[in-house]
Amino acid sequence: MTATSSPVPDQQAVPTPAKSAGVSPLRRLFSELTRSTSGFIGLCLVLAIVLLSVVGPMIVGTSVPGDPMRAWEAPSSDHWLGLEGAGKDTLHLLIIGGRTVLMVGFLAATITTVIAVAIGALAGYFGGRFDAIMLQLTDIVMTVPQIVLLAVVGAFYKLDSPTLLAVIVGALSWPVLMRSIRAQVLSLKEREFVEAAQLLDVGWARIVFGEIVPNMASYILINFIIAVTNAIYAMVGLYLLGLAPQRGINWGIMINDAWTKGAMFNPDAMPYIIAPVTMIVLLQLGLILLTRTLDEILNPRLRDR
């Protein structure tokens, strides 16, 4: 981190572009990831849920037939997780319901990361007035609790599509990441390779986005996953409160549906509530395990101790 003051900066500076050119860095990362137990579990959880939610609907179809006469039927061999209040198969709903959650999570995280990296890198590299204004701006945005702001925005303006929801979540949650990216850039821009690029006079755009940003790739990856976790937290919460559009099927809507129908106090409704909750928790757990492991792999200082 502190490249200039550290007595052995070379050790940390080396494993950037030069060394990883031989073996594919992605493959190396993958093998390190699968070697650690928690990283492997996390990876499996996330992959399984993504697979289930992306491929699943293609196999079982997206329309769920409902038979209101058989509401809250207990789990059976035909319906593994039983039926919900309108006689629809819970497992079927569960498979379909993941798509929106994942889509919003990843889209929002992408938006957050892109904004944060662009602004953070530029602010850190150039400093000066732009930097000061951006810091002030993040100060303000970070102050207002995000969920409260989202809820209020959702109340004032109809959020009528998941995509819009993702855009708003993404647009509101970049400040924290931007600050840490900026701090990284502040230390990276003193390194030799940046100096070399400056001497070659390749232009600021290439220095910032061609030299500095790729050197933060691992850091950005970790923070991207954290951003996915946060976005999923926010969006499921909004669905749960009924502040997001209740059309379609997703895990948040399922929980909200169960709650508003009083399924909490109906023992037969257990699977219908527990199933989406479990899915969200497993997804979050997988993502968190991934970030922790990646952090350990990519951050040698944590591993040594």
Partner: protein, 370 residues
């Protein structure tokens, strides 16, 4: 600290009393510290002003703003004339549509300074300020107490984890902490109700929800205090369980780092007692990064309160906001948003000041940078 800053307002007084050299040093330090506090205060005021302005713009100016919506609704639903509806809107939102926008803006800010945020639409005759003053203490009480408990436990666990890295406690807390961190607080609240109350019947949910039992009035008695403690248990457990792991991990990381510092080795070499090293040398320095985190976490928990309070019917600001949103009580929403923001700004301010008091580098560094 504030008392210290106040007494050094007059620099002449500092020169007269005490040994001259030492006083000169503290006087300079105090002046910088003083300006640090001042700058922080100004910044906080600025943030509050920006948020207030943002709310103003959101409510009055943007297309589809609540005032227009309200007026149109009144005309469409009850066949009121535009003037009549506008007059009502004016009453609720405390503004006069006939005056120019800048004038409205000034009136709005002056109103805010007097604590005037309009009148609730759903409960006529009750001002927004009164209503918030009724709900806010419950949130502050439950969230604040939960935060203190959670931080204390987290600190302890984190230090133990750092001292016995790789031990049973380290692994157990890491795993359990990650697990609970993965459960969003609103889902944990739902799980507590579904599993704990309905399925297992351990928790008497119907009796525990709400702020206090009916018939118990606010007073300074054991009965009242134990009753509100009883009712706040479920929300507080939710807040504590979902945050304590994070605190422990932060504390572990910062303690581990401090343990590697040279001054700890030197302290050991000097043969100081372990207890003294742990508190004065390690603990104090490991605590610093934690305090900065408290402010951001406080905001997060207050945000999460909107879900948790709704699940447990705990009548705090979160529930108030949720109900106001559902009933489209715009003046109320506006008021809650402002009050919550101000609360978080003040929490930030406190954390900054405590941090600066503990760590001279912060206030001196800021002073040099500006």
């Amino acid at each position: 600290m504030t008392a210290d800053a106040a007494t050094t307002d007059a620099p002449s007084g500092a020169e007269v009393t005490g040994p001259p050299q030492r006083r000169a040093g503290t006087s300079l330090g105090h002046r910088i510290y003083h300006s640090f506090v001042l700058r922080r205060l100004l910044r906080s005021a600025f943030v509050i002003w920006v948020v207030a302005t943002g709310v103003f713009l959101m409510v009055r100016l943007l297309p589809g703003n609540p005032v227009d919506v309200y007026i149109n609704q009144q005309i469409a639903l009850y066949g009121k004339s535009y003037e009549q509806a506008a007059a009502e809107a004016q009453n609720y939102f405390r503004f006069d549509p006939a005056t120019p926008m800048w004038r409205q803006y000034i009136d709005y800010l002056v109103g805010l300074l007097h604590g005037d945020m309009g009148t609730s639409i759903t409960t006529p005759g009750v001002t927004v300020t009164e209503k918030i003053a009724h709900y806010l203490p419950w949130t502050l009480y439950s969230v604040g107490l939960a935060l203190i408990i959670s931080i204390s436990i987290g600190l302890l666990l984190g230090m133990i984890m750092a001292y016995r890295r790789g031990g049973i406690i380290d692994h157990a807390v890491s795993i359990i902490g990650s697990g609970f961190h993965a459960i969003p607080n609103y889902l944990l609240a739902i799980l507590i109700v579904v599993v704990g109350a309905v399925q297992l019947g351990i928790i008497d949910y119907t009796r525990m929800r709400g702020n206090h039992s009916p018939g118990v009035s606010p007073e300074l008695s054991f009965r009242f205090l134990s009753d509100i403690g009883y009712h706040a248990t479920l929300p507080m457990i939710t807040y504590i369980l979902t945050t304590v792991g994070t605190w422990a991990l932060i504390m572990k990381a910062s303690t581990t780092q401090v343990l590697g510092e040279d001054y700890v080795t030197v302290a050991r070499a000097r043969g100081l007692k372990d207890a003294r090293i742990q508190t004065n040398y390690v603990g104090r320095n490991a605590l610093l990064p934690l305090i900065a985190q408290i402010a951001t976490q406080a905001g997060f928990i207050v945000g999460g309160a909107i879900f948790v309070e709704q699940t447990f019917s705990y009548e705090g600001v979160g529930l108030l906001l949720f109900e106001s949103i559902n009933t489209r009580d715009y003046p109320m929403i506006q008021g809650v948003l402002l009050v919550v923001t101000i609360t978080v700004v003040l929490a930030n301010l406190c954390a900054d000041l405590v941090n600066a008091a503990l760590d001279p580098r912060i206030r001196l560094g800021e002073g040099g940078a500006a």
